[in-house]
Subunit: 206 residues, 2 copies
């Protein structure tokens, strides 16, 4: 879909309109295709040339916001650190700060009709990052499971930690969550999450 450059422009306009409509509404179940094409200055056939239905458009909007939150961060640059989880943590804090500004938006998306498709987009995005641009890419590409399996399972864990935090009114700081996510990724990939805390007590003091 949206292969021609004209349709690509329409796609971008629709995503922008969808995102603004979600930001502005209290009930995303009421957003219609007519609302979307009116806001984008397009027609219904153009919408359906780009998206199968409203849940798909919601999910693509979520992926676009996620993409913007990650923009500029290449986590793989920390691969050579002695303890990559600590440096990765700083990058995640910046990403979480961006996501936090859109907490209401993501809560609406995940409680709305695009929930399942949004999770698929988010997990696939995070999984690709883990597999190709992270300090654990090499390890997971040579690990005990096919890399697409381990990367998407870890990505689902990271997505869960983040979305639960966003929806539960952020009970811990972005810094603390960034640290937990980095430790989860690093230790699930290397050494194991059951590594005794006494062996890594320095983690607590960083």
């Amino acid at each position: 879909m949206c292969k021609s450059s004209r349709l690509q422009k329409s796609y971008a306009k629709i995503i922008q309109a969808v995102t603004e409509l979600i930001d502005a509404t209290d009930d995303i179940n009421r957003i219609t295709v007519t609302d979307i094409v009116n806001a984008a200055g397009l027609t219904r056939p153009t919408f359906y040339a780009c998206f199968r239905d409203i849940p798909s458009a919601f999910a693509s909007s979520a992926r676009e916001r996620l993409d913007k939150a990650f923009d500029g961060f290449d986590l793989s640059s920390f691969a050579d650190e002695a303890d990559p989880s600590m440096r990765m943590s700083a990058a995640f804090k910046s990403i979480l700060d961006r996501l936090e500004r859109n907490a209401g938006y993501f809560t609406k998306i995940l409680n709305g009709p695009g929930c399942q498709m949004a999770y698929e987009q988010i997990v696939s995005f995070v999984s690709n990052r883990l597999r190709n641009h992270s300090p654990v890419s090499a390890a997971l590409n040579n690990g005990v499971l096919p890399p697409e399996v381990s990367c998407s399972a870890i990505a689902a864990g990271v997505t869960w930690m983040t979305t639960q935090w966003l929806m539960q009114a952020r009970p811990i700081s972005t810094q603390d969550l960034a640290k937990q996510i980095s430790i989860f990724i690093s230790y699930a990939s290397r050494n194991g999450l059951g590594t005794n805390i006494d062996d890594v007590s320095r983690l607590k003091t960083v």
Copy 2:
């Protein structure tokens, strides 16, 4: 909610009615509270004494089905095995065989209005099992992250592997998926998923 024994009976009747309605329909968005109370032989106020809304009832139905699929399996009995992932795998195969019979049901739930709540119920169920009744309970209770954090993140990974498999028309056998899930849980908890496959080549032949 549902604290009195009379309400508990109503709760069970509602769950049964909801589950049967989901099994029977092609569009769970059309299921109404009236449909549910008619099928259960109850009244609308009784429904609202037990559930906040339809998505909550869908999510509780999903958790009940999951509970039945796990019935009779205590994964912690494999904790003392030299390689618990291989024995755990046999139990997971039986559980996945039960879930597979309800693949259509879970697909409807996760594409329906109870998606987010159903995920919360499922991840919390799996997380509690991991934390209290699994071969990795001891490790995760003494690991690098608070156990509720590592257990729910791993549980989200397991949930993702299983629900994607159910919704994608089961591309691999229950035996192969059970093996992948067991390896994911074992290695994320101990040694790390990036453990080189050459070091554990015996896994492939079991």
